[in-house]
């Protein structure tokens, strides 16, 4: 059997499993609550591993490997920050309170939580517009990553990768909603892990082990094993921050805490998510090893595909390709369901006050997810900018807008309506302006965004009237009188 036939066979089998999960999930999706959040009944294993799958897209695998090819082992710090801040600490700091607070407030989305927590309907509208708009941009970058992966790993046209993955995702998300997203995410996390471990073991064997890889890199240039290396502190730290701390403000990640079946499920979920997120270091390790095994590439984004061709058998590379597709598709589907929720629940139903019955609400949600998906696919066919720039851009804007309002919303009783609105507006404006003026000092717009957002929230909250005591007590679950 030819290598190409093996690749297509493995991919077809993988995508069939995804559609089968989507069809199975349809039977358990009868209400709008189930479509958007799986009825808040998702177990620890599925929540944790679908979290991992939603976190890392194919852009991280291909682009992260490219960074490591260019800058060396210092990029391992990005993976390490992802594990500690984006895998462990977020579960510990946000998990319990987000689960409890959102249940008390009966909210299903991040904009909905901000509106109810701060009695600020404007936060719902602003949040849902920012999430709807910039998550579509993020969707485009994910699709573009998958199109590129198809092109370089399978030798098939870019547009085929975009269309095949886009259509399969649209099918299972519109059918099975959130349940399909988390169950396919659970399956896809295993596929991603298998692909990355396979490539890493083969790459380490080919290079003669980690010591030999480091020695060869140091001989090529000492900066390739040192920290911060050629990238410098500003670039390395701000990129590590946006991809790890930024997750704290991303609705498709925080939604996992809304939907977990109980607070107690967070106990095992935190360990599983941390172990799963540990795979984040592998693309960086593989990219650095690629610098030794396949030197002289003009485009660093070719590092992982070139390494795959060099060290894996056709069956191995087929599994790795499925892993790359799994990374992209799981992230895309997680983002798609959140964007659909933002539009249908927050903008149409709660923002514009259009009351929809259960059946109409589910139909509208399915329709919205199809429309958002098709728009993303259409833009991705002729995409506007570089993958990583686009991804960092959209992440930075959403995280700068939502991160501190979420954190302060569950930890600081004194935070006020005007404080949170100033924080959202300030973070949004600062991150956009910072990027437009060319990211001065080599700092990412996310850094400027969260600093302005933090200062605005604290200062304006202290200068404006407190929220009523009985409202705060209800949010905190305290008995009064």
């Amino acid at each position: 059997m030819s290598a190409r036939a093996i690749h297509i066979l493995v991919l077809a089998a993988y995508m069939t499993v995804l559609v089968a999960i989507g069809v199975a999930a349809t039977r358990r999706t009868r209400t709008a609550d189930e479509f958007h959040l799986g009825g808040r009944g998702i177990g620890a294993w599925v929540t944790a591993l679908s979290y991992v799958a939603a976190y890392f897209s194919s852009v991280v695998i291909i682009g992260g490997g490219g960074f490591a090819y260019r800058y060396g082992m210092a990029t391992l710090w990005i993976g390490a920050a992802n594990v500690l801040i984006g895998g462990t600490l977020i579960w510990i700091v946000l998990g319990r309170r987000v689960r409890l607070f959102t249940e008390r407030l009966s909210t299903m989305t991040v904009p909905g939580f901000l509106a109810e927590r701060f009695r600020a309907p404007e936060a719902r509208v602003l949040g849902s517009i920012v999430i709807g708009l910039f998550l579509i941009i993020y969707n485009v970058s994910i699709l573009k990553g998958m199109g590129n992966a198809f092109e370089v790993l399978l030798g098939m046209p870019y547009i085929v990768g975009v269309l095949v993955s886009g259509v399969v995702i649209l099918l299972y998300v519109s059918l099975g909603g959130y349940l399909a997203v988390v169950w396919t995410g659970f399956f896809q996390a295993w596929v991603m892990g298998a692909g990355l471990i396979l490539l890493t073991v083969a790459a380490l064997r080919a290079v003669g082990g980690l010591s030999a890889a480091n020695l060869a890199l140091a001989q090529a240039s000492p900066g390739l094993v040192e920290t911060p290396g050629a990238w410098g502190w500003a670039g390395l730290v701000s990129y590590a921050l946006i991809t790890s701390f930024g997750v704290w403000g991303m609705p498709q990640m925080v939604a996992r805490f809304y939907s977990i079946k109980s607070v107690n499920a967070l106990r095992i979920g935190t360990v599983l998510a941390t172990v799963g997120c540990s795979m984040a270091v592998l693309p960086y390790l593989d990219g650095a090893i690629a610098r030794v095994l396949v030197p002289g590439l003009s485009n660093p984004d070719q590092a992982i595909p070139a390494l795959t061709r060099a060290v894996l058998s056709p069956w191995g590379s087929a599994i790795f390709l499925a892993g790359v597709m799994a990374a992209g598709m799981s992230t895309f589907s997680a983002v798609l369901i959140i964007t659909s929720s933002a539009i249908v629940r927050d903008l149409v139903q709660d923002g514009l006050g259009r009351r929809l019955d259960e059946r109409t609400s589910i139909r509208a949600s399915r329709f919205a997810s199809v429309v958002v998906g098709l728009v993303s696919v259409a833009i991705a066919i002729k995409p506007p900018a570089l993958v990583l720039v686009l991804m960092g851009f959209s992440w930075a804007v959403i995280a700068s807008t939502c991160l501190w309002p979420i954190v302060f919303g569950i930890y600081w009783k004194r935070a006020t309506r005007w404080g949170v609105l100033a924080s959202m507006g300030g973070g949004l404006a600062a991150s956009l302006v910072w990027m437009v003026i060319g990211s001065p000092f080599g700092l990412h717009g996310f850094v400027a965004g969260i600093v302005v957002s933090l200062v605005s929230l604290v200062v304006v909250s202290l200068l404006t009237p407190r929220l009523p005591d009985d409202h705060v007590a209800r949010v905190w679950g305290e008995r009064r009188g």
């Binding site: 390490a80 462990t88 040192e226 920290t227 607070v263 107690n264 106990r267 360990v271 270091v281």
Partner: protein
């Protein structure tokens, strides 16, 4: 120079990954169960 011919400031990234798993395990052990309806 740290293990595997890695400078310590780079090898520390691996230590952070290991420490994260350890932190999550310690947190799980000392996790205070919610006594509300589950």
């Amino acid at each position: 120079m740290g293990p595997f011919n890695t400078p310590w400031e780079t090898f520390a990234a691996w230590i952070v990954v290991g420490a994260s798993v350890l932190i999550s395990l310690v947190w799980a052990v000392f996790f205070v169960r919610d006594r509300g309806p589950q």
